[in-house]
């Protein structure tokens, strides 16, 4: 079995699959430790009960409410129940968590959580987890196709039977047959200018699944993280607010008292991003930002618990948070939507699984709680790994038809042979800028419609995109052009779903045309398929077990 993507979800799945006895390999376009999971900072949620009395039930409720009731409650229950055990497993493997006074895993308060349950390692939790997982991958000697760019899924006999990838180091398309394939390729923040995401986050797995006929769910739900640096979008962790930082406008006011008077800086991320955007739009911003003030935390605490944050602020914003507040603004951060899966990570297509950010189970619904993403990668990575391994161990055949490889070669040749046309960067920049403008924190009918046209136009221009580098060795000019192709199709899907959801829920905010949540008509997931080069919309009900939708205030 093959796992595409070697971040937390991919590596956790690989470890589980290996331990279950499967012949598993990882495939990644970058070295596993370069995966964007490593940029996660604040922490991983689990009801360990080390900082206060807590239990999975509370965690589940907070998650359901946080999702603005769009999350599937059975999936959420499973996540919260299994979370503590999965976090202990990471510690047993050696994860370097921060500790409480009595030597237990330390937990800090985080956005929209009723109890402090975000287990952390200073402000480099993602980095710590990526490394502990890679250590376990090295221990088991799990084969890894490093710097292989996955481009297409191999579909045969109504099953996914492998992946066609471009070998970045040596050049050439390589086909790898596998009985099961798990997509763990992360999100697509690169759709936006001002994103916390790495250059590698281009939605590869989501689009590969889409092109294979698999539906994507809740694609309009893109989370904007409240504290990112301008202009790049580099992430300043929610952990700063967990440790007590304030958000101020140009008047020095802690403006959240007007939007989320109880939770204040620890309200849900969508609430805070909207509050910030409103303040900025209404003229109370500072050069298009608001201010994150940590000075009152003191030098000791900042150096001990937020050392990485301080480094980032000094290098990229030119401010020392010990002395000055950091200017921040909302930035595209996390895709709640993704490949539609069940509770075992299975997609509609036999043999194809998805886990982590690229999947949508859905545990996050319309908005994700900070700290839940890392937890999802571990718990659902594990489950997908287990189920995919069991399937692979109980089925015997793999068959990759030659035609599939030949077709891919031909398509690639067309792209490589083209000598005159447009360079990808102009299309890419226009996409990112217009998505930021027309499909950002606040959305409107007319802007979304316009965005749909813009993306269609960009896709047409993409047909004439030109790659400068025709060589074999380390041709990331080619792979970057292919990434742009992935992004464009996702953008088209997102806009269609955004238009269809005529309400405001979670991260999808339409204050001008549909300012309220409409449970009667829209308590359901959007489901989009790719048919004849265009998105086709459908709907899927939300699974509710315990909690009925209520008014959502913080």
């Amino acid at each position: 079995m093959l796992i595409v993507g070697a971040g937390c979800a991919g590596m956790r799945a690989a470890i589980e699959a290996f331990d279950a006895g499967a012949d598993v390999a990882l495939l990644s376009k970058i070295h596993p430790v370069r995966s964007h999971s490593g940029a996660a900072e604040g922490g991983i949620n689990a009801a360990l009960g080390n900082a206060s009395e807590d239990d999975p039930e509370k965690h589940a409720f907070d998650t359901v409410k946080g999702s603005d009731y769009l999350g599937d409650q059975d999936a959420i229950q499973v996540l919260c129940d299994e979370a503590p055990g999965d976090v202990y497993q990471l510690e047993h493997w050696g994860a370097v968590f921060s500790r409480t006074e009595d030597g237990r895993i330390a937990q800090r308060p985080f956005g929209a959580a009723g109890e402090p349950r975000t287990a952390y390692a200073a402000d480099i939790t993602g980095h710590v987890l990526v490394h502990v997982l890679y250590e376990q991958v090295m221990k088991r000697d799990i084969p890894t196709y490093e710097e292989y760019f996955a481009w297409q899924l191999v579909i045969n006999d109504d099953r996914c039977q492998g992946v066609i990838a471009w070998d970045l180091l040596n050049g050439g398309l390589k086909t790898i047959g596998a009985k099961t394939v798990i997509l763990a390729t992360g999100g697509a923040g690169r759709l936006y200018v001002g994103t916390t995401n790495a250059y590698a986050c281009t939605g590869d797995g989501m689009t590969m699944a889409l092109r294979a006929g698999v539906p994507l769910k809740d694609m309009e739900m893109m989370q904007f993280h409240p504290t990112t640096l301008a202009p790049t979008g580099i992430l300043i962790t929610e952990g700063t607010r967990g440790e007590g930082a304030y958000l101020l406008n140009s008047e020095g006011e802690r403006f959240l008292k007007r939007y989320a008077p109880n939770a204040m800086e620890l309200a849900s991320r969508d609430v805070i991003s909207r509050a910030e955007q409103t303040e900025i739009d209404e003229g109370r911003g500072v050069d298009g930002n608001v201010l994150l003030d940590m000075r009152h935390l003191g030098a000791e605490k900042i150096i001990e618990r937020l050392h990485g944050t301080r480094e980032l602020a000094m290098t990229y914003a030119g401010v020392d948070p010990i002395q000055e507040p950091i200017p921040v603004r909302p930035g595209a951060h996390y895709h709640m939507g993704g490949v539609d899966t069940d509770l075992d990570g299975r997609t509609e297509l036999e043999g194809l699984y998805a886990a982590g950010e690229c999947a949508c189970v859905s545990v996050h619904g319309a908005n994700r709680l900070g700290g839940n993403a890392l937890m999802e990668t571990i718990t659902y990575g594990k489950k997908a790994g287990r189920h995919a391994a069991d399937w692979a161990l109980t089925h015997t055949t793999i068959e990759v038809p030659e035609a599939v490889e030949a077709d891919a070669e031909r398509d690639l040749k067309v792209l490589l042979d083209r000598t005159d046309g447009e360079r990808p960067w102009s299309i890419r920049n226009e996409l990112a800028e217009t998505m930021h403008e027309n499909f950002g924190v606040f959305r409107r009918e007319d802007q979304m419609r316009e965005q749909g046209e813009i993306v269609s136009g960009l896709r047409e221009r993409y047909e004439r995109v030109v790659v400068d580098d025709k060589g074999d060795v380390f041709n990331n000019d080619l792979t970057q052009a292919l990434e742009l192709g992935f992004l464009l199709e996702l953008a088209q899907c997102m806009v269609v779903c955004g238009l269809a959801r005529k309400e405001s829920r979670g991260a999808h905010a339409r204050p001008y045309d549909y300012p309220d949540r409409d449970d009667e008509n829209y308590l359901k997931h959007t489901l989009v398929r790719w048919v004849a080069e265009a998105p086709v919309l459908d709907w899927k009900p939300v699974t509710m077990t315990k909690w009925k939708p209520m008014e959502r205030t913080y």
């Binding site: 970058i30 070295h31 430790v33 370069r34 995966s35 964007h36 490593g38 940029a39 360990l48 202990y88 510690e91 047993h92 493997w93 050696g94 370097v96 968590f97 921060s98 500790r99 409480t100 009595d102 030597g103 237990r104 330390a106 390692a121 200073a122 480099i124 993602g126 980095h127 710590v128 490394h131 250590e135 090295m138 221990k139 180091l169 790495a198 250059y199 590698a200 202009p231 790049t232 580099i234 992430l235 030098a299 150096i303 480094e311 980032l312 290098t315 990229y316 010990i322 360079r423 990808p424 960067w425 790659v467 400068d468 580098d469 060589g471 060795v473 380390f474 041709n475 990331n476 000019d477």
Partner: protein, 357 residues
């Protein structure tokens, strides 16, 4: 702002290496990585380099600027432009070049794997909850846990340049991440392994790794911690360890280093005898101080007593180095430390990268 730089290109097909000039306009907030992106997008799509997070955490973009390894996403271009300097960009050192600024990191990863870099908890039973470990215990390895595996330290390692099989600063720092982790039960086996021929005692203490590390891991200090732990565990078969122990002996007996005896004490009598001709050459110049009468410093009894005293206080081994880290962490934001006095402009050297392999 107007940026100019030079890049050492390497074409794997022809084997040609060439220094090329580039000029472009970039925003004032641009880092080296942003400049490379602009060149690749708009001038030359064949320029090859690695990148991902652009926020100093993934470790992809290690490369050399003016002959010294940096993370491209960390180097702000504005100060360089304001100085009127044209930097020379090349691939990292000590690793074979694949193309342009991309190096083959396989040797690097092989050395990491050599360290057996996974926790050996030493038992099979399944614990219900987390192991109890204090924050102080975790702090012992907090710097080593910062390592993002970028390769900047390895690129500049003077020892590795001379001995390519040296495990190197990144691998050894990773090794200490486990030796210093109280949960790991294989410390002694690890130390035995790291005391091998190309291990701990190969380090030449040039401190280039500490200087280049973009994350503050201080690999040289990690190597010193491994040395301290080795000596604490009585692992002293390597000449390097014997050499180090003789300094301790000298300090507590005569105060000043007992130089002449250092040779046989480090190398053993047999090997020392082989150096006789060389030693005679030195002796003629008075460079071999007679061991007798010993050159004793005043009040050396205090030094001896101090040794007794500190040995009883339980900060042996790596803890003796870790205890100073809290103070050293403060340096970065006090006026006392790291003050730089500006140098007059020196012509940058345009070193071609070494041939790979």
């Amino acid at each position: 702002m107007d940026v100019a730089l030079k890049i050492w290109r390497y074409d794997p097909d022809s084997g040609d290496r060439e220094l090329r000039d580039y000029e472009l306009e970039a925003p004032e907030w641009a880092c080296l990585l942003d400049v490379l992106d602009l060149i690749k997008d708009q001038q030359d799509g064949t320029l090859a380099y690695r990148k991902s997070c652009r926020m100093m955490i993934c470790g992809s973009c290690g490369m050399r600027m003016d002959g010294r390894a940096v993370l491209a996403c960390k180097e702000r271009m504005l100060p360089i432009v304001e100085r009127g300097h044209v930097p020379v960009i090349s691939a990292m050192g000590n690793m074979p070049i694949v193309k342009d600024l991309v190096v083959d990191m396989d040797p690097f990863w092989n050395k990491i794997r050599r360290m057996k870099p996974w926790l050996e908890p030493g038992y099979d039973e399944v614990l219900e909850r987390e192991r109890i470990v204090s924050q102080q215990e975790m702090n012992v390895i907090q710097k080593e846990a910062l390592c993002i595996m970028c390769g900047c330290c390895v690129s500049e390692c003077n020892s590795m340049e001379s001995d390519p099989e040296f495990f190197g600063p990144a691998a050894l720092a990773k090794g200490f991440r486990f030796v210093g982790d109280t949960r790991d039960q294989a410390s002694v086996e690890r130390l035995e392994d790291y005391n091998d021929e190309h291990g701990i005692w190969d380090c030449t203490r040039c401190y280039f790794c500490n200087e280049r590390c973009p994350k503050g891991v201080d690999p040289r200090d990690a190597i010193a911690k491994l040395g301290a732990e080795s000596v604490k565990e009585g692992i002293d078969r390597d000449m390097g360890a014997k050499h180090a122990k003789w300094f301790v002996k000298s300090a507590e007996t005569t105060g000043w280093l007992r130089e002449t005896e250092l040779v046989p004490k480090t190398q053993g009598i047999v090997s020392a005898v082989k150096q006789t001709k060389f030693a005679i050459g030195l002796a003629r110049r008075g460079k071999v101080p007679p061991p007798v009468p010993p050159h004793v410093a005043a009040d050396v009894g205090e030094a001896r007593a101090l040794h007794q005293l500190v040995r009883e206080q339980g900060r042996e081994g790596a803890l003796g180095i870790v205890q100073g880290e809290r103070a050293l962490a403060r340096i970065e934001h006090t006026d006392a430390g790291g003050a730089r006095r500006d140098a007059p402009e020196v012509t940058p050297r345009e070193e071609p990268p070494k041939a790979e392999g």
